[in-house]
Each structure stands twice: as structure tokens, then as C-alpha cells.
Symmetry: C2
Subunit: 233 residues, 2 copies
Amino acid sequence: MNFFYAPPENWKDDRSEVEITGQEAIHISKVLRNKVGDQAFVVDGIGNRSKCEITDISKKSVQLKVLETNSQNEPTTKKVMAFGAIKKRDRLEFAIEKAVELDVWEICVFDADHSERSRLNEDRLHTQIVSAFKQSGRFYLPKLVIKRSLDEVLEQYKEHSILMAYLGDEEAESPNQLTDSENLLLVGPEGGFSKREADFAKSNGAQFFTLGKNRLRAETAVVAFLSQFLFSK
Amino acid sequence: MNFFYAPPENWKDDRSEVEITGQEAIHISKVLRNKVGDQAFVVDGIGNRSKCEITDISKKSVQLKVLETNSQNEPTTKKVMAFGAIKKRDRLEFAIEKAVELDVWEICVFDADHSERSRLNEDRLHTQIVSAFKQSGRFYLPKLVIKRSLDEVLEQYKEHSILMAYLGDEEAESPNQLTDSENLLLVGPEGGFSKREADFAKSNGAQFFTLGKNRLRAETAVVAFLSQFLFSK
């Protein structure tokens, strides 16, 4: 059965019906050629997955009635992955897709000291996140946040425990289990974090961690770092 | 300084000189436009990195003299990553590039029960491995091995400890430290391993491991699995 996404505002208050609009509606009617009576799963991105049946279908809007709903609680341990903007689009999109698969709670892309000011197509990235979200069978849709400096990132997530992938002067530890509920994982851009950024993060309570002895590309570091916490709840 | 690759047969016996040929030579002469006297690092893929100086340059061949050499021992813990052939080329290449960055010793791509028979462009994949190898600063060039079934893979690596990413009937553990020197990590194709493959691997001593609760794409599983062993020596 297919999976579709409909944001919270598209659902009737009593959750008996839902409407799918936009590109998703066009996809359902024109590409998949679904018909009235067909069933599908519809997720709302805030913890609920409903088995539904199509009651009306047009190019702009697909109406479904809800047959049954499965809900999941928010994770106890949330991981925000903030990484310096990656210039090459296919690598950036891989980082984002993999972050969603690997259970990220929020994705933050920021302009680092050693990266060029990014011009991100937020709509395109959001579409990507929704696509990876549906494919992975997750219940919560990760948010996308864009920031213009590490300083802005730390301001945004000021209550989070900060784990920074950075090899400083001292011996960094390998990442362990996450013990806190709100975690901010930081990965630098291709050129690495600047000394200024490392000092600033440190003064804000960041712990430095190593991701092994090999030099990793930025998008690989994003995936490798999140993979240290596959079993967090 | 640039990094170039020259396989063992291109080096003079006493390692005083080396010749770069093929695409690399064309790249050096036509794209980078290096000149006699320019310096570069040249790696041989079997543990040695030499700082060299160009002594002669043409489109087909670049001659260099060796100034100094740095050598590294083979790792104590070797990781062979064998994964079911991934159909989409960009995802396959992503898996291969990341495997090289994450210190894989050999890369094996095989036709799994649940994947279509692959038609891989081995030259193209080899070029990719060399490129990722140079970029990552590693000393050993991973080999590429193509097999037609999991059975062939287990025959090829019959002395290796087998770690299989597979959720069986019993509760699988999360991957730990690697304790043996020769390790075979197995990841299935998009459709997952078949029961036959799992039983066959088990009867050959495979241990099953989980990569968390989310369904991961094949190339993500490759990276996540290797990321469990970032600190193996």
C-alpha cells in the first residue's frame, strides 16, 4: 500500500477525514491513477499513521476517509543535526535524506565560517525531507531550519546538549550513548570548523568528539555521526 | 599539494622514480597543467605515499622522481563490506565512495536472491574507488570484487568472521567492537536478505546484527554498518 503525507491542517478535527492537495494530489490522480475505493496509508508527520480509503479524487484534491489510526509517541531522545552548508546539491541532498532515515528530529543547515554563503532551495529540500520521511516509515516529520552562522544555531538550540565533531588540541573521545533528551549534533562544512567556532561552541558547553582517523567528507560525517546513535530511544 | 595514484607496477624497483599514465596523466597535463618541477604526493595503494617532483610531462605519461616516502602498516582489523547490488547508479556509487572513506579493506558487490542480476561497469566503479581513495588520504586502495551470489561471497571469504545486518526471528544485537582480524560485513539489497540467505549465512557462522528500528535504504545501511567500527585499528 502507498504512503501519503498530509500536514496536520489537512485533517478534519475528529480525524475522520483527510484531504491531500498539491503535488501529492497530482501524483495520486495522474501518476498512480488511484481510484475511489483504493486504500492507502496517510501520515500527518506528528505521530499518526492512518489507513484510509479514497472517497473523492481530482487533480487538485484527494479526499479520504480514515479507517484506523496508529500513533507513536515522540522519541525520548531527540537529535538535531546541524551541519555546515554543503555546496554540491547532490551531496547536500544525500546528507538530508540519510539524516531523515537515521531518525533525526530536526535538520539545521547553517553558513559556517569556512563555507560560502548558501542559497538553498528550501522548497526543494522540504520536498526531499517529506519523501525520505514517507519512505522510511517514520511517524514524525523532521523540521528544516536554516541559519546564517553557528552563533545563530547555538542561540536557536540553547537548551540542548552540544556534541561537536571536531578534533581539537586535546584528545577527543568517540561518541557514546546519548543521555540527555535534547541533543544538538554539530558537523562542520568541507573546510572544517574554524578555531573561532570551536572555541565559541566550547564556551557554550560543547563536547568534542572524533569520528575516527580518516578525513570524512561533510555528508559522510553527518551520516557517520548519526550512526553512532542508532539505538537511542 | 595534489594527490595522484600510480599502481605498484608503475614504480621503479628502488622506488626512486614513478610513472603516471592513463587518465591521470591526461588530467595532470591538460587539466591541472602541471609543469616540470612541480611537486605532488603519489600513492601506490599498498601503504606508501611519496612526495615527488615532476621530471617529464606529456599527455600519455608523467615521470616523477621520489623525494621522500611515508609508509603505513596494514590495519590490524580488516573490514570487507559485501552488499547486494544496488540498482540505481548514484546510490551504488554513494555506497562505494562512503565505504572507501570509512576505511573498508575490500568492497564486494554481489547479486542477492532479492536483487536483479547486476550489470556493473567495473572500470567506472574502480575509477570511483581510486578517486575516493585519493581524496580520503588513505594508504591502502580497497579492492573491488564482484560475485554472483551470497554463496560465492562466503566461499571467497571463508576464513572471515561474518557480521550480517539482518533482523531474524531472534533478537539481534547491536554491532560491537570488531575483535577478529578478518571481518566480512554483509548488507542485503533493497528487498532485504532472503530466508535462504540468512539460514545459509547462519550455518556458516554468521552473527546477526540490527541497525536500529528504522528501515534503511541499502546504501544507508552500508554506511551505518561501517560507522559502527570507526575506531577499529
